[in-house]
């Protein structure tokens, strides 16, 4: 019995060995690390749709210089440990030089040093400010939390709300944006009355809301994901809290409308410039294609990974499958017309994108036209 097990173990190791030495085919292999399972699986699914749409599009037009693109997806389950495993496999087994993803900042921070070391270009959709300094090869097509937090602070000041409560999810995203907002907002004379948190996955927000209600804020700034915020919005209205609801892009998602229904109407949130109903022809074409393939309008995460993939393909086409050249090319990229907005990268590899304000109208997420 024991010997048998040992044999099995050895066999598995051997199989790895064989696979690692297998010959790469005549395609450009791109890696993708996404949370395909676990808490953030939904984001992973959206990201995957964007990538596959872009790849299909490129390949149907004959690929890059005649070579097709193949994407190897790996699941990180939103856990850093699994992300590290995945990135090691992608770099060493699949020999990819370019990786799209990950989405959670914790995973990006864990895999960044590995990519930096291996000189593999990575384009994440994470928001943590810490990623700014993660390395030369580390890019992101998603604005840093600093961006959204300060944009909202400015907006609130402009709207003349002076007393705001914050209710954020208790993770790095929630804490990060809330802190940026608080700093900016206070600097400009606003007052954060109370900051409350909740655990991811929780659905009873009443205790927090009752506490907030006591302070009678003019607006409540929600930082978190669609699901939890759906409960927040619904329960806030049920508790007869009438304050203006503000949010971040995390709030955008079907769960918000599912859960909160009508009570979500009129909330205001920041988002990277992506307007699903834009009349811009590129966006329109993208939306049509997306609708055809997945039967619904594109989520913003799909748009960013779509753009990321297209940008990478563009670079490979220009400079060949050479990470150093791709990296340099990305720093020099100017005003790429992505579906998620005009795209530039600063010298830290952070995307420079305009932030737009959106609202919920008739159960749709729409830009606020000022």
């Amino acid at each position: 019995m024991q010997k048998g097990l040992l044999v099995i173990a050895l066999a598995i190791i051997l199989v790895f060995g064989v696979i690692t030495t297998s010959i790469a085919e005549e395609v450009y292999k791109i890696g993708a690390i996404l949370p395909l399972s676990g808490d953030a699986a939904q984001y992973g699914e959206w990201g995957k749709r964007g990538i596959s749409l872009a790849v299909d599009e490129i390949n149907s037009k004959g690929g890059i210089n005649g070579k097709k693109i193949e994407v190897v997806y790996e699941d990180d389950a939103a856990e850093p440990k699994k992300g590290v495993s995945a990135v090691n496999k992608l770099i060493n087994v699949d020999k990819v030089k370019v990786i799209i993803g990950p989405i959670p900042s914790t995973v990006t921070l864990a895999v960044a040093p590995i990519c930096e070391k291996a000189k593999v270009v990575i384009m994440s959709s994470s928001s943590s400010p810490a990623i700014t300094k993660a390395g030369d090869y580390i890019f992101r097509n998603w604005p840093s939390d600093d961006f959204e937090g300060s944009a909202m602070a400015n907006y609130v000041i402009k709207k003349k709300y002076r007393n705001v409560a914050i209710l954020h999810i208790n993770n790095e995203y929630g804490l990060g944006v809330a802190n940026v907002f608080k700093t900016e907002f206070s600097k400009q004379g606003g007052k954060v009355l109370i900051t409350e948190t909740y655990k991811q996955g929780i659905s009873d927000m009443r205790p927090q809301l009752i506490k907030i209600k006591k302070y009678n804020p003019e607006a409540i700034y929600l930082v978190g994901h669609a699901k939890e915020n759906g409960h927040v919005v619904k329960q806030a209205r049920e508790l007869n809290i009438k304050a203006q609801i503000l949010g971040t892009v995390g709030i955008e998602g079907p769960d918000l409308i599912n859960i909160a229904g009508d009570s979500a109407e009129g909330l205001v949130y920041t988002a990277p410039a992506f307007d699903p109903d834009s009349h811009d022809p590129t966006v329109k074409a993208y939306q049509q294609e997306y609708m055809k393939k997945f039967g619904k309008k594109s989520e913003i995460f799909a748009a960013t990974t779509y753009d990321a993939t297209k940008i990478m393909a563009l670079m490979i086409g220009k400079t060949g499958y050479n990470p150093d050249a791709i990296k340099d090319g990305l720093y020099k990229l100017k005003d790429y017309p992505g579906v998620s907005g005009k795209t530039n990268f600063d010298r830290n590899g952070d995307v420079i994108k305009s932030v737009m304000f959106k609202t919920v109208k008739n159960k749709q997420f729409v830009p606020i036209k000022e």
């Binding site: 655990k199 009752i210 599912n258």
Partner: protein, 291 residues
């Protein structure tokens, strides 16, 4: 302010209590630490979802059907997994791990079928009631009332009927129970059926308020377990008080401190009770030779 928190705590406590009563039925009679009870909880809410929301079957029929399904889940778990282990005289640890494995199994099946997103059982806002400064939604009122009714039913069932007495008796002394010719298999099947149905009720009541996803079961179960341990396994009144205490306490922690310390406080109290009052806070003093 304080009052609103306490009222809120009582409502969330009564949801914990419903789950705890279900868990208690099973634990009392079989001494099984039924982690997979959390999976029954989740599964029955999904059955309800697919009947009531997806298939548009009327509320009462959907409710009855999903409670029946939860009974089936519970019975299948007992007879396929636990009973053979009982027959082999497996240790508590083995049953615990098996139960955990059933939980993982069920939750992943559910995630596979329905996906990870939240499903909504009822749309729109629930109407609110105000009593002075205190605001409650109708669903919260229903939740509390269901708890009251369930408690009264359970109490009279356990104290006043043959089957109820059998549950206490088998937990008290399983060997004697068999020796006086009573049907052990039947009673254990019965507690799994009742307990599972109650879990189903708990999840639907919660789900109607806040929606469901595949991972709701564990939290509900852990709260119930803490309530049962704190209240003491012997008496149903004890676990009710335990549940309400937990519910109120969790609300007060959020009020006075922050939600981030909620679970730490809950589990700290669990450890204290385990260490210094392992029979629970509300339990009759025993003579040494009874134990």
């Amino acid at each position: 302010m304080l009052l609103q928190f306490i009222v809120n705590g009582i409502v969330s406590g009564s949801l914990i209590a419903i789950m705890a009563i279900g868990f208690w039925f099973i634990y009392r009679a079989t001494n099984l630490f039924h982690i997979a009870h959390g999976a029954v909880y989740t599964a029955s809410a999904y059955v309800f979802y697919s009947l009531y929301v997806s298939k548009d079957i009327s509320l009462s029929i959907a409710l009855v059907l999903s409670l029946i399904s939860s009974i089936i889940f519970g019975l299948v778990m007992y007879f396929i997994v636990y009973r053979p282990l009982e027959k082999k005289n497996a240790s508590a640890g083995i049953k615990f791990i098996s139960s955990l494995a059933i939980y993982i199994f069920m939750v992943n099946i559910i995630a596979l079928i329905f996906g990870n997103e939240t499903k909504i059982l009822s749309e729109g806002l629930s109407e609110s009631l105000s009593f002075g400064n205190i605001i409650l939604t109708w669903i919260q009122v229903y939740q509390f009332l269901s708890f009251l009714i369930l408690f009264i039913l359970t109490y009279s069932f356990v104290q006043g009927t043959k089957s109820g007495r059998a549950i206490r008796a088998i937990g008290d002394n399983p060997v004697l129970f068999k020796a006086i010719g009573l049907n052990e298999r039947w009673v254990k099947g019965m507690v799994f059926a009742i307990g599972s149905a109650i879990a189903g009720l708990a999840s639907i009541l919660t789900g109607i308020d806040v929606g469901i996803d595949p991972h709701i079961g564990m939290l509900a179960l852990l709260n119930a377990v803490v309530a049962v341990i704190i209240g003491g396994i012997k008496k149903i009144e004890g676990i009710i008080i335990g549940s309400l205490l937990i519910g109120i306490l969790q609300n007060l922690v959020i009020w006075q401190f922050s939600a981030r310390w909620e679970s730490a406080v809950t589990f700290f109290i669990l450890i204290l009770v385990l260490l210094y009052k392992s029979g629970g806070l509300f339990v009759v003093k025993k003579r040494v030779e009874e134990i």
